[in-house]
Structure formats: C-alpha cells, structure tokens
C-alpha cells in the first residue's frame, strides 16, 4: 500500500536526518559567497576567478555561483548561501530591483551584503557597494567619440551618430548614458553631431538583457531606414556585447571598405571578440575593468568589516531608499594603441588572441 511506502520513506529519512543534524562543525574560516549573473559574459568569469583567488589567499572559505541570468535562480542562491552560513555576500545582481526581499532575509540572518557592479535597489539591506566609476566610464566613451571625430578640435561635421544603450532593467545603463551625454550634448545641440534616426532618448535606445542579437537587429533596421544615402560616423555602444551586434550589422551593410569606413564604435568589458575586433580595426575602443583591482577593493571592504573599523567611502550612491557607501576603482580606456594591457593584467594570454 502507498502508506507502507511512506513508512519506508520515513524510516530511511530518519537516519541521515539525525546524522546530518549533528554535523554543526565550527569552521574557523569565515565564508564569502560570490554571486555572479551569468557565465555568458567573460567579465563575470574574470571577476569570479580573481575574487576567489584573492580571498582564498587571505584565508577565507569561498563559494562562487552563477545564475545564468535567471532572477529567481539568483534569489535562491542567496537563500541557500544564508542556509549554509555565509558571513559575506558579494552579489552582482541579475536584476537590481528584484532581490530586495532576498537580501533583507540575508541581512536579518546577520550576513554582510555587498553589491558588486550593479547596485541593489529599493532596500536598506545593502552594506556596501563596490564598482568602477560608472558616470566616468560613460564620459570616457563620449570623450573618445569627441576626440576621434575631431569635435573637440572644432570640426563642425555634421557627423552622424547612433546610440545603442544597455539593458533598461540595469540601473547602470542609465548612468553610462548620462555620462556619455554629458560630453556629447553640446555637439548635438550645436548640430555638429546628429542622430539621424531621432532615437536619442535612453528608453528608445536601450537593449533588453544586453542581448547581442537584439542590438544587431535594431542596428540593421536603423541602417536600412536612415543610412541608405548617408553613412554613420559613430556608434555609442554601451558595452562590447551590444557593440558586437552593431559591428555585425555594419559589416553586413558594407562598412569597412574605402567608401564606407567603419564608424567609431565604443564598448566596455574588453571581451575577447572585442579585443580582436579592436586589433582588426572594427571596434574602436573598449573599457578595461580590472578584476584584480576589483578583488583588492572588495577585500578592503570585507577586511574593514572583519576588523570592525569604519571604511571611508569614495562616493555615495542612492538606491531609491538610502545612500549606499561605495568604494570605486578606475576604468581604463583600451584601443588599438594600448590593448596589450589585457595580456599584462592577466585577462587573456597571447594564445587567446591568435
């Protein structure tokens, strides 16, 4: 009978249940759990590896998990980390707006919550934020276009530019956009820089989930609609993943020949395809975010908590509820003149770039 099976089930359950319950080992090493959004973008792999390497060296027990860009998976990774007794949670959110409940539960259980790269919004349960200067990065992209087109030297153009921004559900995207616009706005107003499609606002230029295919499709449509008789001189690509799609679209439209030189294309993250693209002369620049430096800055924060000292933040970021103290590291612009830095800093090897 079904009930007899329940008997077997319960008897068999009893044994490991009590065996497991006794195993409350007191580990000397405090645990740090690193939660990353996805393995699909190499930046998270780089960060994950460097963080684990540094913290293991410093005597912490480490756990590293990826959520494949699935929000609810990250939510239960947070819950499981708390169940396992982690002392610190360093989270790069899949969706900054959807984990407020999960981190509040973690905070209530005494865990120190640190947001990495993407600020966790709508909750007081964030202790610290470690990031690069987001606004500065946007400015760097804008400044690069400004310099490459000669706008700062007084060239009047008019130059055609299109904008491909990041995911609308990532609060960083808006900041990158704002940073870049702070540099480029005066040229847009003066008419030396023109967005032919009229798609200027962040909302209309955003690319959901930073998806390469979506960026490519949009660029295809922009090129066929507005650039049959004209060429585009610059594309403000928010990151390598969307710029990859942009470059595919440009290539298939015949850019990269004498009559149609490749426009200035920006990016960030220094993905492998982007570096190769920069060497080939298709993508113009990317931004290097050194995961080794990120790991050091994260350690600064956690070390301060371990020692019980107050750490002076570099800047405060408002997460719609309160100001989160943040520690920042410098982004580095990379183009065909200085791309060697990605090999020097250990992101890639010579063999990777063959």
């Amino acid at each position: 009978m079904k009930k007899l099976v329940i008997l077997l089930l319960l008897v068999v359950l009893m044994v490991p249940l009590f065996a497991g319950a006794q195993q409350e080992q007191a580990t000397k090493k405090p645990m740090v759990t690193f939660l990353m959004p996805t393995k699909e973008q190499p930046i998270w792999l780089f960060q994950g590896d460097e963080l684990v390497k540094l913290f293991k060296e410093k005597g912490f027990e480490t756990r590293l998990e990826y959520a494949e860009d699935i929000i609810e998976r990250q939510v239960y990774q947070i819950e499981n980390a708390v169940t396992l007794g982690t002392k610190y949670l360093v989270i790069a959110a899949v969706d900054s707006y959807s984990i407020s409940d999960a981190v509040e539960k973690a905070k209530a259980a005494g865990v120190v919550v640190i947001a990495n790269d993407r600020l966790i919004m709508n909750t007081k349960a964030v202790d610290y934020y470690v990031t690069f200067d987001l606004y500065r990065l946007g400015q760097m992209q804008g400044e690069y276009i400004e310099r490459a087109l000669g706008l700062d030297a007084g060239k009047k153009g008019p130059f055609n530019m299109e904008i491909v921004s990041g995911s609308p559900d990532d609060p960083n995207s808006q900041i990158f956009y704002n940073g870049a616009m702070s540099v480029l706005k005066k040229y847009l107003d003066a008419g030396s820089l023109v967005v032919r499609s009229g798609q200027l606002e962040f909302g209309v230029t955003a690319t959901l989930a930073w998806d390469t295919a979506k960026a490519m499709a949009r660029m295809d449509n922009l090129l066929s609609a507005y650039y049959t008789n004209d060429i585009v001189h610059a594309v403000l690509g928010a990151a390598d993943c969307v710029s990859l799609g942009v470059i595919s679209a440009l290539t298939s439209m015949g850019y990269g020949t004498a009559g149609r030189p490749f426009p200035v294309v920006t990016g960030q993250d220094c993905e492998l395809t982007a570096i190769k693209s920069i060497i080939e002369g298709k993508q113009t620049m990317s931004v290097f975010l050194d995961a080794k430096v990120l790991a050091e800055k994260t350690f600064e924060i956690i070390d301060a908590f371990e020692k019980g000292v107050a750490l002076k933040p570099d800047k405060m970021y408002f997460n719609d509820v309160f100001d989160v103290p943040a520690v920042m590291y410098e982004p580095v612009a990379v183009d065909k003149d200085n791309w060697q830095i990605v090999i020097d800093r250990g992101l890639y090897t010579e063999a990777d770039l063959k």
Partner: protein
C-alpha cells in the same frame, strides 16, 4: 507479509514516484551533509517551488484532457507586471489589484478557451500564440524595466509566516498547535472512512496495519510542522498551497466535474457522445489554468518584490515536467494532483540540493533534463508491467 507485498506491487505505479522522491531526498540529505533538511532550507524549498506547484495544479486538468498550455509563464509575467503597475504606479489598493489580476487571468483563459474549444485550433498553437502575445504585452507594459517595490501586505504573500500567537518557546507553538489539529483531523477522517467501509461490508486492512498507517501519516505531518516551527512557522504561502491541493484533489477525485475531465481525456469522442459537454469542459480547464497562472504571477511578483520583464521564462516547462514526472499520461486520461505535487517536489529538491552542493548551473540543467526523461521512462515501464 505476503499480503503486504501484494498490495505494494499492486500499487507500484503510484508508489514509484514517491520512492523516487524519497531516494532523491536521501541522496541529497547525505550529499549536502545534512543541510537539505534544515528547517530554514525546508522553508526555502516551499517558497522556492510554491509558484511552480500552483502552475502544475492548474496544468494538470489541461494535461488530463490530452492538451497542453504553453502560455502560463507569460501569464505569470503579465499579471505580475499588471500588479506592479497598479500597486506601485497607480496606487490601487491591494484587494482590488488582486481581483483585477485574477479577472484578467480568467479573461485570458476564456480567450484561449474560445479558440481551442470552440474554434477548434489545437491547444498547442493557441497557447503558443499566448506565450508570445502576453510576453510582448508584459514588456510593453513595463517599458522594459522592473517595477517595484510593493507594500508589505503584498509581499506578505511570499515572505511572511503565520505569527506565533502563543509564543514563549523557541519553537513556533502556533504552528505546532495547527499540526496537532491536522493530525486529529486525519485520525478522525481515517476512522470514519474505515467505519463506513465496515458498514458497507467492504474488506478493510487489518487493525494493526490501520493504526500503523494512520500513525505514520500523523508522524509525517508533525515532522513537517516541526521543521517549519523550528524556523519561522507556517508560511502564508503554504496555507495557500495546501488549500489549493486539498480543493483540487477533492474536485478531481470526488466530483462529477472531475470525472468528466478524466472521461474526456480517456476517450473524447465517447465522452461527447455520452452527453458530456466537451467543449464547455475544455473551455473551463483553460480558464482554470489561467486563473491559477495569475495567482502564481502574484506570488512570484511578491517574491521578487517587483514586476519584471523576464518573469516566468520557462515556467510552463517546469509545470509540465512536474505533471509528467508525477505520472500524468502524455495522451491524456490520467494524472493526479498528488502526482503533480510529487513531481514539483522532485524537481525542487534537485534544484535546491544541487545548488547547495555547488554543482555548476550548466551541469544542473543537463542533469535535470536527464532526470525528467528517466522519470517518465520508468513510469511508462511500470505501466507496461500491469
């Protein structure tokens, strides 16, 4: 002894899944070094799988009739987005938001039902269309952003527990009390059914067996209650889940409506010729699954504390897998609510266990796929033996 073995073998199919679940729990309990059955983790298991269970319960009648509903994931996203817009941006009160979301769910179900039942389009196509339509509308509604946060009443659905009205000890005594009451209820129910069987002259199991089995059922309930009481008590979500399970088990096993659904799945032409309003019933199953998808949408939005554009992605597959692992037939005509619950638990424990052990997410997915295949294969083999 022989008698017992005969009874077990006779019910091997139903027992197969319970044994599989038991095995998986034991494997992971040992593998996670005891973390799986910690009170906090048991509570997490309930919260992590609650919305899938709701979808599986709604999906089951659809599968019994030999059809499928691919749109539930998008309905989850759509109602979550609707709730977010209403409560966060327009400041509509909680109860009205709830009613509107359920009504929208019913409307979507009616829409699908009309095309499937009355126009005759295959359910696969209708609901495939639904997946795209409502995903698109979700993203449009949210303008691509995640919208939150909700107020505390809304979040309570997925976050809060029945408060301890008694208190005083570290165990949640209200939960314990509820557990004891449930046990008394089970004992009474079993006694009554045994008595009515005796009166009707039907064969009953020996008394010692009856006492053992009832005692074990109570033990099971008390064990679960203990785990919950040792953490924060009974989550509100569990109350909702138990209500849905009890209600739908009753409808599927004890009502004419339930009988008719099975009849349609068993042989639709025969059912229609014997006077069952097959079109009406299909229409009803569509409305039912969509309302439950709306409920799941609200539960999920409360868990994330936001309406998100990517919510519900792939949920329909989880719900469908849960039903099939639990013993539903691909051609329709069989499947139980209890089976859907076990199917959800099997997948939930695996997800949770593999995550705790630290298996990489990509390998997790591969393992899950294999387990689904094996579970249904074993189930089909056992059916053939009969």
């Amino acid at each position: 002894m022989n008698e017992i073995l005969k009874l077990i073998k006779g019910n091997m199919r139903k027992n197969g899944m319970i044994i599989a679940l038991a095995l998986i729990v034991v494997i992971f309990q040992v593998w996670t070094k005891g973390v799986l059955l910690r009170p906090l983790n048991i509570t997490n298991l309930i919260l992590q799988n609650g919305y899938i269970l709701i979808l599986a319960i709604g999906m089951l009648p659809v599968i019994i009739t030999g059809r499928i509903d691919l749109s539930v994931g998008s309905i989850v996203a759509f109602t979550g987005a609707l709730a977010a817009i209403m409560m966060v941006e327009v400041q509509v009160p909680f109860v009205i938001t709830l009613i509107i979301c359920l009504a929208v769910g019913a409307a979507i179900g009616a829409w699908h039902g009309m095309w499937t039942a009355y126009v005759g389009i295959p359910a696969f196509i209708t609901t495939l269309s639904g997946t795209l339509v409502f995903r698109g509308l979700t993203i449009a509604l949210l303008r691509g952003k995640s919208i939150g946060p909700f107020n505390s009443t809304f979040r309570a659905i997925s976050m809060n527990f029945i408060p301890d009205f008694i208190g005083g000890v570290s165990l949640n005594m209200t939960a314990v009390l509820i557990g004891i009451l449930i046990c008394l209820f089970i004992i009474l129910k079993e006694l009554r059914s045994r008595n009515s069987d005796l009166k009707a002259g039907l064969q009953v199991v020996p008394l010692w067996f009856f006492i053992t089995k009832t005692a074990l059922m109570c033990l099971g309930v008390l064990l679960l209650i203990y785990f919950l009481a040792a953490y924060n008590g009974i989550p509100y979500l569990l109350v909702l889940l138990v209500f849905l399970i009890v209600f739908y088990t009753f409808v599927t096993t004890n009502t004419v409506l339930g009988r008719r659904v099975y009849a349609i799945g068993g042989n639709e032409a025969a059912a229609r010729l014997s006077g069952i309003n097959t079109k009406g019933m299909i229409f009803l199953t569509n409305i039912n699954v969509s309302i439950l998808a709306a409920v799941a949408g609200i539960v999920f939005a409360a868990r994330l504390n936001a309406g998100t554009p990517r919510a519900g992605n792939g949920f329909e597959l989880d719900a469908i897998a849960a039903c099939f692992i639990g013993g539903a037939s691909v051609t329709g005509g069989s499947g139980t609510i209890a089976g859907a619950v076990i199917g959800t638990l099997i997948m939930g424990v695996m997800n949770n266990g593999m995550s705790i052990v630290g298996i990489s997410v990509d390998i997790q997915q591969a393992i899950k796929g294999l387990v689904i295949l094996l579970a249904v294969a074993i189930d089909m083999l056992m059916k053939k033996r009969r």
